[in-house]
């Protein structure tokens, strides 16, 4: 057998193996990526926790944590839902704004305000593992 014909017999197998290896690798995230994304997430959750206990978030020194230790009784898994006191279906950030305006006597935040995103990240992180239950009362 010539050197060339041996190569032809091996080639399909090698090609298949290469394809399998390539397709498995193509969709995998690197550990470096995962760690970077996790760090980004954790830093926003931590920023949310800092806001949760920040006497300057409103105007009267009252903090979210005073009534909601560990963000308990916020139930992020139940939104969107009909909020009977507001008379319509709302998302969690709208309820957070109600708290900012009333008990904290402060100003509402825009939905995409980094502080609003951080507050929701913290609340949701404290509730991790609880099944989604939108619309629940």
């Amino acid at each position: 057998m010539t050197k060339r014909s041996r190569w032809i017999r091996i080639a399909p197998w090698a090609l298949c193996a290469a394809l399998v290896w390539q397709s498995a690798a193509a969709d995998e995230f690197t550990q470096e990526d995962l760690q970077r994304w996790k760090a980004q997430y954790v830093s926003v959750v931590q920023a949310g926790r800092a806001l949760w206990t920040d006497r300057k978030l409103g105007t009267n020194g009252v903090t979210c944590a005073q009534c909601h230790p560990n963000a308990a009784n916020t139930h992020p898994e139940t939104y969107p839902k009909f909020q009977k006191q507001l008379g319509r279906v709302v998302l969690l950030w709208e309820m957070i704004n109600w708290c900012l305006r009333n008990p904290l006597e402060g100003k509402a935040l825009a939905a995409d305000d980094p502080n609003m995103i951080a507050l929701q990240a913290y609340v949701t992180d404290e509730r991790r593992g609880v099944p989604l239950d939108p619309g629940k009362h």
Binding site: T53, T59, N60, G61, V62, A65, Q66, C67, H68, P69, N70, A72, N73, H75, T78, K81, Q85, W98, C99, N102, P103, E126, R127, R128, G129, V130, K136, H137
Partner: protein
């Protein structure tokens, strides 16, 4: 706020006391205070002054202030000064950790003491002490120490305790009390262990309970938890009082933690945040039998009755029953 009624063989010996707790008066700046918390205490004082029969005295259950400042304690004391009856005080952590109770004691007197009133022995404890290292060595400023302890869910906090010195005082104080005398103990934190990380907990609760064990009828009434709790351990009945400021969630509503809420306790409904007094109602406590029967007046919910059941020897909710035959309370979010 709570009305505690004591009834005895002779009608002339009957008496009532009122209980107000956890006002958390919070200074914004200068002479500005958080309106919502002010209103809760002002309302409790007004309603106490309208009680019939009028209470022989009023207990204040601790956490008059939010961050222990003179401004907050003075403002709170000024609101309480409108009470017609004599007031006895319990110290809470939010009164204490700025100056370790110095200004509080100048206003209100000793932090632990006892007195007898018409056949009942009353004991007041400071149950919010903690380890010396945490108190004296951990924090660069008194203000930071106060803020760290005022934050309920703070992993940098430290568990409450009565401490060896006060337990020795209590043992000595109880020596002169007959075993069949009803004993009522007032503390800020629960003298039982429920959830450590929110300090629904007293580190040396077991040791304190051991000192109370010999007495036939003991009732411990505590604040701090801002919610309905009750329990029975041996001859000791435990009852919490609600806050005039805001309600706390039950520890089991925190998904990441395990708590030991007494099996007897039927949780109260979740408060409606849009009604700022909801979940901060007040209680009448009737001790006519020597055990506490409590009627909870909940502003936005049906009233609740927790009465001592002589057949089972424990307090039970007369509507929602004991844990094995329980009608669940409303569970709305």
């Amino acid at each position: 706020m709570t009305l505690v009624e004591f009834a005895f063989a002779k009608d002339t010996d009957n008496f009532a006391l009122a209980y107000i707790s956890d006002a958390h008066i919070q200074n914004i700046k200068g002479s500005e205070f958080v309106r919502n918390w002010d209103r809760g205490l002002i309302r409790a004082v007004a309603e106490t002054n309208l009680l019939n029969p009028p209470p022989d005295f009023v207990m204040f259950g601790g956490d008059l202030a939010q961050l222990g400042t003179k401004a907050e304690l003075d403002h709170g004391a000024e609101i309480l000064a409108a009470l017609h009856a004599k007031v006895y005080y319990v110290a809470g952590e939010s009164d204490y950790y700025l100056d370790l109770g110095d200004y509080w004691s100048r206003l209100f007197g000793p932090q632990w003491y006892s007195f007898d009133h018409k056949g009942v022995h009353f004991v007041v404890l400071n149950s919010v002490l903690t380890y010396e290292d945490w108190t004296f060595k951990r924090w660069p400023t008194a203000e930071q120490r106060m803020r760290e302890m005022a934050l309920l869910d703070n992993p940098n906090g430290s568990p409450f305790m009565v401490g060896e010195k006060q337990r020795a005082w209590l043992a000595d104080d109880l020596k002169k009390v007959r075993r069949n005398t009803p004993v009522v103990v007032f503390s800020h934190s629960p003298l039982q262990k429920i959830y450590r990380l929110w300090n629904f907990w007293t580190e040396d609760a077991d040791e304190v309970q051991a000192l109370l064990k010999p007495f036939d009828k003991v009732t411990v009434i505590y604040g701090h938890v801002h919610q309905i709790q009750y329990n029975q351990i041996g001859h000791i009945s435990f009852h919490s009082v609600m806050s005039t400021a805001w309600p706390f969630p039950y520890p089991q509503s925190y998904a990441q933690a395990e708590s030991y809420l007494p099996k007897l306790t039927v949780p109260m409904n979740r408060a409606d945040p849009f009604f700022e007094r909801d979940g901060t109602g007040w209680q009448f406590v009737n001790l006519a039998t020597g055990n506490a029967d409590i009627y909870y007046n909940l502003y936005n919910n049906a009233p609740r009755n927790v009465a001592f059941n002589p057949a089972t020897g424990q307090p039970e909710d007369t509507t929602y029953q004991a844990s094995d035959t329980r009608t669940a309370p409303q569970q709305h979010y």
